[in-house]
């Protein structure tokens, strides 16, 4: 698959794949990497939850600042974090976009006869920013903690086994998905030549999409066997990486608690 469609599909999958690969950062040294995985999980997931309930731009920006600070302390490349955090909010922005028109308020602009209101714009911006910060926080966990340690921490925190199972499998299949897509594109590229027309590219793209679905299902089944061969039919039970909780752990918990309580107070009052 060559041409415009092929190239863009290729670069999108390459980007997505990079976004979902985290291991190198998890292996480097930094603030979050040195935390007990349970503490990272509770504190950072707490922050993500708190940002989702805020309704104020200033508070959301505050959370964004906290996220960036944590990323900086943990030597997480900002570009990697932003790339990871941008995909979901861009999609969700598309979904809430109509609100820019639907919410009553002062008209700031008019596009194709639709009146865009100031309240509407504020809503869309706040919503997108909140989702973005939330996703960035969750990404920080996976970027700084080996995935098996995250799973082990979930088990230790007595998260229901069924839920841990779903999280573990979903994460693994995300990898698989992008892996399979990239492999398929590589296979096609190696056997097509020249610049295809846009229309040819689309035709090709549709065919690839069909094959992709079948191949992913098939690959999923085979990886399922690979898991079962090594005890995957039993509840996830990776080795714990926790140790005694230290001052840094307490500091993170306190910062997270203050932020969560503070944003709750701002939202609902005392």
């Amino acid at each position: 698959m060559t041409g415009v469609v092929g190239r863009s599909v290729e670069s999108i999958t390459a980007a997505l794949r990079a976004v979902f690969t985290a291991e190198q950062v998890a292996a480097t040294d930094g603030f979050l990497q040195r935390r007990d995985p349970r503490v990272t999980l509770v504190a950072v997931a707490g922050l993500a939850l708190a940002v989702m309930i805020t309704r104020t731009l200033a508070v959301t920006v505050g959370f964004a600042g906290l996220t960036l600070a944590l990323a900086w302390l943990s030597a997480v490349p900002l570009r990697r974090l932003l790339a990871r955090a941008a995909v979901v909010p861009l999609v969700s922005a598309l979904i809430v976009l109509p609100q820019a028109v639907l919410l009553p308020g002062e008209v700031v602009a008019s596009v194709f006869g639709l009146a865009i209101t100031d309240a509407g714009v504020a809503y869309v911006v706040l919503f997108t920013l909140r989702v973005g910060v939330g996703v960035a926080l969750l990404s920080l966990i996976v970027l700084t903690t080996p995935f098996s340690a995250v799973v082990a921490a979930l088990r230790q925190l007595r998260v229901p086994v069924a839920l841990v199972w779903v999280i573990a499998i979903t994460y693994r299949y995300l990898f698989l998905f992008f892996d399979e897509l990239q492999r398929l594109i590589l296979a096609r590229n190696s056997r097509t030549k020249g610049e295809a027309t846009l229309r040819g590219g689309w035709r090709d793209g549709r065919r690839v999409a069909g094959t992709f679905l079948l191949r992913t299902l098939d690959r999923g089944e085979r990886v399922g066997r690979g898991m079962r061969a090594r005890g995957g039919a039993r509840p996830p039970s990776p080795y714990r990486r926790s140790r005694s909780v230290d001052a840094g752990d307490y500091a993170l918990l306190v910062v997270a608690a203050v932020a969560v309580v503070g944003s709750g107070v701002i939202r609902w009052g005392l």
């Binding site: 690969t21 291991e23 080996p146 995935f147 990898f175 066997r225 090594r230 005890g231 039970s237 080795y239």
Partner: protein, 266 residues
């Protein structure tokens, strides 16, 4: 010898109607090293998956260690290595993948750590432990997969073509690990070339997924018409000494052949 795997009348038909194996019955005993050999598409992988309890055969059953017919109940004793390392390595780093089996199958973290270290040394994985498996080369993936199955020290190894893309150095290391394994080993491979150096019994899978022969290595690898019928060819030394040494004396490995040449035997 205690049977570790006992299969009766295994038949497997894929949903599209392909009958991959048909009426296979076999017994693997403790400490045995068996090679299951057959042409491409003869049904080796299907047989391995059925023996390993990873597909539900259309008919027949498998008995493990004379105890149970449920593979999940004895998972920690069965080392099933899939043919494609991409199906086998699904964790985010090589280390997590090697630790996955021991952790899931209830081995202590210390035991696992010791084994991971030894395997990484032996199979040249030290620099790769923190890398994601899908970014490794083909041979590296295969070595990581072999390490992952050896990591939980299963009693029976069911290995589907573990050497494919591996270079000579590591092929020898893997070979040594298989030969030194002190449980049963079943090696599934489309070529007889390495079989005499590893196995003492050969099971030939015929074109239609039935067992075409089952016997001692020498007996099977010198039966040229049988092999030709199955689309296989004898190991290199057997071809080399054709018409020079009688079948019951022909050296089966390169080392044995060299020795007999030095001794001026033929």
């Amino acid at each position: 010898m205690e049977p570790v795997i006992n299969a009766h009348g295994l038949t497997h038909e894929y949903p599209d109607g392909t009958t991959a194996i048909s009426e296979v019955s076999l017994t693997i005993s403790e400490g045995e090293r068996v090679a299951v050999v057959g042409a491409n598409g003869s049904g080796k992988t299907t047989l391995q998956l059925a023996l390993g309890g990873l597909i539900e055969p259309t008919a027949g059953s498998v008995d493990y260690f004379g105890e149970t017919t449920d593979a999940e109940a004895v998972r920690e004793r069965l080392g099933v290595l899939l043919q494609d390392p991409d199906d086998y390595l699904f964790n985010t780093t090589v280390r997590e993948d090697i630790e996955y089996g021991p952790a899931q199958l209830g081995q202590s973290r210390e035991t696992a750590a010791r084994r991971v270290e030894a395997l990484a040394d032996d199979l040249g994985l030290n620099g790769l432990l923190d890398r994601p498996p899908f970014r490794l080369s083909g041979g590296e993936k295969q070595r990581a997969a072999v390490a992952s199955v050896l990591a939980f020290d299963p009693d029976v190894l069911l290995l589907d073509e573990p050497f494919g893309a591996v270079d000579a150095t590591y092929r020898e290391r893997i070979q040594r690990r298989i030969v030194d394994h002190d449980g049963a080993v079943v090696l599934f491979t489309p070529s007889l070339d390495l079989v005499p150096a590893i196995a003492d019994r050969v099971i030939l899978v015929g074109q239609n997924g039935t067992i075409a022969a089952d016997g001692a290595v020498r007996e099977v690898v010198t039966d040229r018409s049988l092999l030709a019928e199955q689309g296989l060819r004898p190991p290199p030394t057997v071809r080399l000494f054709e018409g020079i040494a009688p079948d019951d004396e022909v050296p089966l490995t390169i080392a044995a052949a060299r020795q007999s040449l030095l001794n001026g035997e033929f």
